[in-house]
Symmetry: C2
Subunit: 202 residues, 2 copies
């Protein structure tokens, strides 16, 4: 799914006063090929003008619509530890139309009911999700707790999560899971750096 990437590229190009772009420009800006841009767009029914490329504003509008950027997306966070706290204050979400509206934890020491983004007891999550019609969540709890938290979220009606627990949670057909394992990401880098090193005869 490269649409987010195209959207970011378009925003940058718009900032440079581009009024229209060609698949070629977008390819450069998004680090893909021009053919890929045109193919992806055609899959999503985004049509340009032969010879005229794509109108920046029009394109931005269509991409934003597809990505749900036409309204704020409210999400919740479970696990207000190390990573959780950082996400709570990450300014990039708000900037992109994503609103982290509440955090949940089992540790009473973490509770802050009256904060800008309240930290609430995990027991309150189910009700909160229903009341506020939340569909997306972030899991930032220790590995041993993640599966259980996932089940709680599912049962309350959450439909997709971003998971930072170092366990690959499996997606099911009507539920989306995106796993980010910080250690694995680094291990991959370490592996490739090592491999490049040996290849050079180190």
């Amino acid at each position: 799914m490269r649409l987010s990437r195209y959207r970011n590229a378009i925003i940058r190009l718009k900032a440079l006063n581009f009024v229209r772009v060609f698949s070629d420009n977008l390819a450069d800006a998004a680090s893909v090929t021009a053919a890929q841009v045109r193919k992806d767009f055609s899959i999503f029914g985004i049509m340009g003008h032969r010879r005229g490329g794509y109108q920046v504003d029009d394109l931005l509008g269509q991409l934003s619509k597809i990505l749900g950027k036409d309204k704020f997306q409210d999400i919740i966070l479970v696990g207000v530890g190390n990573i959780g706290k950082a996400l709570l204050h990450y300014p990039g979400f708000e900037k992109s139309g994503i609103r982290l509206v509440a955090g949940f934890d089992i540790d009473p020491a973490k509770y802050v009911a009256d904060a800008n983004i309240p930290i609430l007891p995990l027991e309150k999550m189910h009700e909160y999700i229903l009341t506020n019609d939340i569909k997306i969540g972030i899991i930032a709890v220790p590995d041993y707790a993640s599966q259980q938290v996932l089940e709680m979220m599912k049962s309350a009606g959450i439909k997709g999560v971003l998971n930072f627990a170092p366990i690959t949670l499996r997606e099911s057909s009507d539920f989306v899971i995106n796993n980010i394992n910080l250690v694995t990401e680094l291990e991959n880098i370490i592996y490739f750096v090592k491999a490049a090193d040996s290849a050079r005869g180190k």
Copy 2:
């Protein structure tokens, strides 16, 4: 690169007292197919025993070696903001043999020279990398600074980075970059949840 995943799976299986495993067990534990496990292993020269599967200890040893887990990997962090601070105290790295040895920032208010993990001025980075022979780094600076930080790291001899800045830094042939864009990850989830919603007739 699924080797990290296999390694994690093996560690879990070992905890369950498995002494040997079949490609089938590993496939289940790592959420891949048995054929994929065997294929991946054969690419890396990991051989099992026909009819006997793979010895857990032997397999763990080989995977650890390939992934550089036989010794601690020292890495540095640039950008001690929101995300940076969380990574600085993330216990998962140390547990996995990854040692975050220093942080760097341009903001003097962030400096803590005598901490367990010192936070140093960015100007000191070049020297630090050379002196300590660091090969891997994490970038957690704002987008506008990321490219410049990357160049600084490259010029000092860093060979791979994990990048949290919301800009897709391009890899070159002898340099590995792994981009994690938190907003994009969430946007993808939002998109798929929306798509599933409409598919069900909203």
